[in-house]
Amino acid sequence: MVSMYHASRTDRAYHAFRSQVIDQVRDYFKSQGVLEVFTPLLRAHTVTDPYIDSIKTPDGYLQTSPEMAMKILLGHGSRDIFQLLPVFRDEPILGAYHQREFLLLEWYRVDMHYKQLMQEVTHLIQLLCGNISVTCQSLQEALKAFYQCDLWQLSDNEIEKLTREHIDVSGDLQLNDCYDFLIEKLVKNTTTDLVVFHGFPKSMQLMSRFDNNTNSALRFECYLWGHEIANGFSELNDPIEQRQRFDNDNHIRQMINKPNIALDNEFLESLRGMPDCSGVALGIDRLIWILLDRAEQS
């Protein structure tokens, strides 16, 4: 057991290890010709995600992710870019890997399909974690193999029924709660060190493009030793569709008594100029904490 969260450590050894990982990340991106950028940590706008709470200050919101600010840069002609920055979230639960403030790595690759970016993320995680095993599977196939049914063919009610059969959960369940529970159980029962799932259901598309042929969102998620570590998309660059998704988020917010988030028009405008690209966010602090805990255990 970890008696104290790594996040609050003050010893030099911790900071030396963290610095070493950060150097590796910077070296990697510089070798690939990806430009390091710095976007504001405090902005007038923030994300609309119903289950991400921002910390509000009198001068704006502390950023929960640099996604919108970096897409504004992409819309203004930036090509491949990366950023390492502290982000802030008003987390309902705090824990060893859940902190209000943590270092995030986010990068965008222009003219790259999300499956190529998925390869790059896997490569970078292997670079940082050493020799680890990896499985990469479509989420639809992985769920089908584990729960013995194709969730893409089930109605929302059938998915809720399946969830309650497999997980003892009380209270109301939204569709995405069901997916979260089912995916979490699936990941916990996978023995590979790094698990990558690609192709998500429409209700979990977030800011990714949606592929009507496969009926899946072009999104992937990586789980390192059971912990969610990275989330990437083929990025949506249709401002009209994006605005509808924001409105939908605010609609859900209203239903769960959370404040409405004003839409970021500067961001929506820049989407018009944003090239086709893929982007990903990787919780670099979480990766560091997980590595430290594993080193301690072995």
Binding site: Y51, P92, I167, D168, S170, N176, D177, L206
Partner: protein, 188 residues
């Protein structure tokens, strides 16, 4: 009835779920990056002792069970009812079902923990170690303190305990009630 937010549940909290009292063993908070936070709670049913995992969404309210632990001393039993005295010298009666298997570790004036649910005795936990006198066993073999061979002895409460060969009738033994195993001989 008092309730608690699932975010405030800690190990040791006593919860009332589907009308049964539970003891919380551990709590794990999970927050999917984009999803709703939830708490996975490992709980033990205080009536059946069964351990289960339950998932609650963050902030969901859960009823608290009115469960109290009392240090009591055992007075006597009449075969159907076991009589205890609480720290305020009040007598408490517990049925055969409540005392259950643990009856075999109780002698007069021994102390134990009585768990009350809604004011009613739910079960008793004897002290981890009790000292009991052997009433029946084959004669002790002198000098044999190393062979490791065991025999069965009956102690004053009727409990059967595996003991080393040197143990004799009238010996006082220290016994671990959690596994029913002999620990040592006690010299008076």
């Amino acid at each position: 009835m008092a309730s608690i937010s699932s975010n405030d549940v800690k190990s040791g909290t006593k919860l009332l779920i589907d009308k049964d009292p539970y003891h919380v063993i551990s709590v794990e908070g999970v927050k999917p990056g984009k999803g709703q936070a939830f708490n996975r709670i490992k709980i033990r049913n205080l009536k059946t002792n069964r351990v289960v995992d339950k998932t609650f969404k963050s902030g969901d309210s859960i009823e608290l069970a009115d469960v109290q632990e009392l240090d009591v001393s055992f007075l006597y039993d009449d075969g159907d009812t076991w009589h205890f005295m609480d720290p305020n010298y009040e007598q408490i009666e517990a049925s055969k079902e409540v005392v259950g298997e643990n009856a075999k570790w109780l002698v007069e004036e021994s102390t134990c923990t009585l768990l009350l649910w809604d004011g009613q005795p739910l079960f008793i936990t004897p002290e981890n170690f009790v000292e009991l006198t052997v009433t029946e066993c084959e004669p002790g073999v002198r000098g044999d303190t190393v062979s490791g061979a065991m025999k069965v002895a009956v102690v004053e409460t009727g409990a059967e305990v595996k003991v080393p060969l040197f143990v004799d009738r009238g010996d006082k033994l220290k016994i671990d009630t959690r596994n029913g195993e002999y620990v040592s001989r006690v010299k008076d």
